[in-house]
């Protein structure tokens, strides 16, 4: 899981067009608060991903060489949309490309002509979702720990010990205690279920 503790988020702009990269850079610079990295192709993007901590990728769909959608599919084999949000850039007319990109794991898309406010809003929304998701994971972990610490340990062990003891008895005694063993197993199952629901 990619967790970057720095406040200043790093955005990777992937576009073969220098003009389009500059345009996005202008939008991001105006807003401030971002480290900006640039990749000029899909191949370049994958290289940069290996050597740089990236918080979000803004990527053109149509590029020479590896298409943006192919790079997206490749990245999604490694990182989930929460671990590494990817916003695709496309022309308004390329509806099928946009739909395809969303299907294969793009978090969102923006269209050309770029609107700076929309671009920034969508970036901030995705970064906020990542933050909230990380918070949620932490809360779930805390809740699971809480539950474990609240279950009386003696109770769990005595139920398990009792079951093991009963299972060691003769067939006739085992039959007599069938209900008790069943109840013990049900109690263990309930505890396990509660832990699972918080993890």
């Amino acid at each position: 899981m990619r967790v970057h503790t720095m406040n200043k988020k790093t955005i990777l702009i992937v576009d073969d067009s220098e003009f389009d990269r500059n345009l996005v850079k202008l939008a991001l610079t105006r807003n401030g608060g971002f480290n900006i990295l640039e990749a000029t192709s899909g191949e370049h993007c994958l290289e940069m991903l290996v050597s740089n901590p990236i918080d979000l990728i803004l990527m053109d769909i149509m590029m020479p060489g590896i298409l943006g959608s192919q790079v997206l599919a490749h990245i999604r084999q490694i990182y989930s949309p929460i671990e590494l949000p990817i916003i695709m850039i496309s022309s308004v007319s390329d509806v099928s490309d946009i739909v395809n990109a969303l299907k294969i794991g793009a978090n969102d898309y923006i269209t050309k002509p770029l609107n700076f406010d929309v671009t920034i809003s969508r970036i901030l929304t995705q970064l906020k979702l990542v933050e909230l998701s990380l918070e949620m994971s932490k809360l779930k972990q805390v809740a699971a720990m809480d539950l474990l610490s609240n279950v009386p340990k003696d109770d769990i062990f005595s139920i398990i010990d009792d079951s093991i003891r009963l299972l060691g008895k003769s067939d006739s005694e085992l039959l007599q205690n069938k209900e008790k063993i069943k109840n013990n197993l049900m109690n263990i199952k309930l505890i396990a279920k509660s832990i699972k629901s918080t993890s």
Partner: protein
């Protein structure tokens, strides 16, 4: 405010200003970026057409289309779109003529944008 016919025909000033509402001061900077980029974009398209490389025509025309669309330059955008489609359809015949028309349109567009950039602080 520029209100000549050339500006009206080559790009939509109203839509451009609407898109940059509140940050109109950025328009000259964006125009400057575009003027620096346009020779490279044109050269890439010309090279693809000369090489009869349909895939490269589609990609470079697509890039051109995206660049001019930032200024709501419909005539240039439509010509670039036609070239992009021809590239996708692997049709090379007629691309030179379309490219010639696109160059004329781009010349008009760059002139109009230069005028707009020179207006600078007079944006409303």
């Amino acid at each position: 405010m520029t209100d000549n016919n050339a500006t009206k025909q080559t790009f939509d000033r109203n839509l451009l200003f609407a898109n940059f509402h509140g940050i109109e001061d950025m328009i000259p900077e964006i125009i400057e970026c575009f003027l620096l980029a346009i020779p490279k974009l044109t050269f890439a398209l010309e090279a693809a057409i000369k090489a009869k490389d349909c895939e490269a025509i589609a990609i470079s025309a697509h890039t051109m289309k995206g660049a001019v669309s930032n200024f709501y330059a419909e005539p240039s955008k439509n010509l670039a779109l036609q070239l992009e489609k021809m590239g996708h359809d692997k049709v090379h015949a007629g691309t030179e003529e379309l490219f010639r028309l696109l160059c004329i349109e781009l010349l008009e567009l760059t002139k109009a944008l230069q005028d707009l950039a020179h207006e600078g602080a007079h944006y409303e």
